[in-house]
Symmetry: C2
């Protein structure tokens, strides 16, 4: 949580932390800016102090909403530095030198935020050379903000809950939209008699998202039949929707607040083949088993072991017995969720992963079973929040239901 | 253009280029992946060869659409490397060592793509140390892909044109939506008699965007009156829409192809105050003057000089006479446009900017005049493409019109 930043900086021996770059695609900038609608800038946090936001002059009014100490970038007259130094690398080193001098930054300084990797390598190397009082530090794993962001405070949970409610609404409304369609034979058809395609359904999903100020930067998964058995297939736009074929619908939009939600439901329209029903029960049972195994202090990596064991006992191949399997259970059970759709805590089942479940964690539980050769896959995904008292809350307020009847306007 | 990559690599003394990270917020990944709907991976391009895409196993079917040479990441069994090395830094260095050995990568290797800046600093430093045959290189300015991406080939222009057509449609439809509203006194009102707010207009804009598979990752500007005089104000959601007040409407969405468009129109509903009319003519005249000054071989920085001179001659303060001015013309004239909403070519008016206009450049022309104390701002933005023959094309097919009459359902 944000309130842990000073303690986490002390543990890491950091005197200051710098976060930079554009806000877009840069969750740690978003985290510190508290939703201020700016494009980017530089944030400097000295240990024990409120961060300072060096903002673009043109965004001075938006910057106020960050609640941070503000410094207008125009104070440094970057263009005049650039005229003096002739190249951007030297000019940016000089800009940071002046900012650090003004703010009294020295000692061990950690750098964070998204940048071109080669540029960062060159720039931070040059800065480290140029500033004798500063030791440039980077973190490769369990970095300051990764760890702080992994546990959510009440404000963050409120925003995730809002994203949850709206995301579940979109899923319900999408299914209601499908139920309203006409059926010819086994195929859903539009008013003009042409098959209803996944492309058309996705346009409806986009409309439902937009109405709720949900953005879908990474693409919804709406995959039917065999495509649903390829876990990351987003679905072929020209594929028709047929009765009795399982549809994997995985929606992970970002709310206007910057927080993501992530939910998957698998369902059939009209009826479900018996073998799909069986698989569905196994996946749903696995969700329950993993949630039952979740409590504060449990090593995060055990959730994957619980899922693999649950499926192995029911005769499904898993990545535990064969890491390269493309049948059965083929992926990870969980990921943290917040300002990024995948973030800490990590649930990787490897000895170096010493993460344990903690109050404030928000994470998915998303087992699935995939049988491409049989033409179907099933995944169910709920999101769990562990509150301050260690109580688990399922934030996904949506029934698990395999079959949705059509409204009956069909000719079947 | 992509066809220039080998030449540009040779000029830079690069034997190979590596692009990595997630695709989201990472335009260079997008550029090389040719629209393949994957989440991320590693792309290695040796000079003179088709790039190799080391993709996640789970995305093997989507990876095919990239048209690149494919290697399934599962071949390296990353989890087993991680078990062996115990930490992610050592494991990722080992992963790259194995990939480079398989592909015969050595010599000078440039690294690109978005990553956490501190992580990149640590990782590339460790990689440089660990691989005796490889010299890790980064570029801080006018990097390989920045330069390649700055000139667009025919495929890219076709995608930008599509984004242009759809973006202009959304602007026209938004204005038509406003014209249909009822007016009470000077204020637009909804069916229930409450003032129509910017928040409600933005919801309509989101709907219009979603219908066209346009995403709006960075937020539309729809600002009325004084807010329009703060160039980056996005508009207050609770502000009502009134007749005779200039509205700055700046839309910069991303098309499903990944390419952005960027268009600004300023307009008044019902009527425009005479002083706004005067300002509008100056801004529109400036667009024409800057376009008239554009031709192949002209230094890009001169466009800003043309704009400043045009405005100074008409009595407006500009950043040329006062870099800190918050009145008059306060920003830059142009930016390149493509897979990022701001990219090369650079139009910064500084001596180190030696960029000249070239065939394939796609860039905005967006002068504006801002008078916060008088309560209004005006900006107009068109996009220019210079074709292979050096002919300019204005890709913004939208009239410049200051006043739009209401449809007359008002009580005014």
């Amino acid at each position: 949580m944000k309130k842990d930043l000073d303690r986490l900086m002390e543990e890491r021996g950091l005197d200051a932390a710098v976060v930079g770059g554009n806000v877009y695609g840069n969750p740690t900038m978003n985290y510190l800016l508290n939703g201020a609608a700016v494009g980017g800038g530089i944030i400097v946090k000295k240990r024990g102090q409120t961060p300072t936001f060096i903002h673009h002059s043109i965004e001075r009014e938006e910057a106020v909403a960050s609640g941070l100490e503000l410094v207008d970038m125009s104070r440094y007259n970057y263009l005049s530095i650039l005229r003096e130094k002739h190249d951007r690398l030297a000019a940016n080193v000089e800009l940071y030198r002046r900012i650090f001098a003004d703010l009294g930054v020295k000692g061990d300084v950690g750098f964070y935020g998204m940048a071109d990797q080669g540029s960062a390598f060159v720039f931070l190397g040059a800065l480290d050379q140029a500033l004798p009082d500063v030791r440039v530090r980077g973190e490769y794993q369990e970095g300051l903000f990764d760890v702080a962001r992994a546990t959510k405070d009440a404000d963050e949970v409120a925003m995730i809950r809002q994203a949850a409610r709206l995301t579940c609404e979109v899923i319900s409304e999408t299914i209601a939209f499908l139920q309203r369609q006409r059926v010819e034979g086994e195929t859903l058809v539009t008013a003009d008699g042409a098959p209803l395609t996944i492309g058309a359904v996705k346009r409806e999903i986009m409309r439902l998202l937009a109405e709720r100020r949900l953005e879908d930067p990474q693409g919804v998964i709406f995959a039917i039949g065999r495509d649903g058995a390829i876990p990351h297939s987003k679905g072929r736009p020209d594929a028709p929707i047929r009765l009795g074929q399982p549809i994997v619908y995985d929606l992970y939009p970002r709310h206007a607040s910057g927080y993501f939600f992530d939910c998957t439901r698998t369902f059939c329209l009209g009826y479900a083949p018996p073998e799909v029903e069986k698989i569905y029960q196994d996946v749903s049972g696995c969700v329950d088993a993993v949630i039952a195994a979740s409590q504060v202090g449990v090593p995060a990596r055990t959730l994957q072991q619980v899922a693999c064991q649950f499926f192995e006992e029911r005769g499904h191949p898993t990545v535990a017995s064969n890491p390269q399997t493309e049948e059965g259970y083929v992926h990870s059970i969980s990921h943290g969720l917040g300002l990024a759709v995948h973030e800490e805590p990590s649930f990787a089942d490897i000895p170096s992963n010493t993460t344990t479940l903690q109050p404030g964690h928000v994470y998915t539980v998303e087992p699935g079973l995939y049988y491409p050769d049989r033409g179907y896959g099933v995944r169910i995904e709920d999101v769990i929040w562990i509150d301050e008292q260690g109580t688990l809350h399922n934030l996904t307020d949506l029934p698990r239901q395999l079959v949705f009847e059509m409204n009956g306007r069909g000719s079947r």
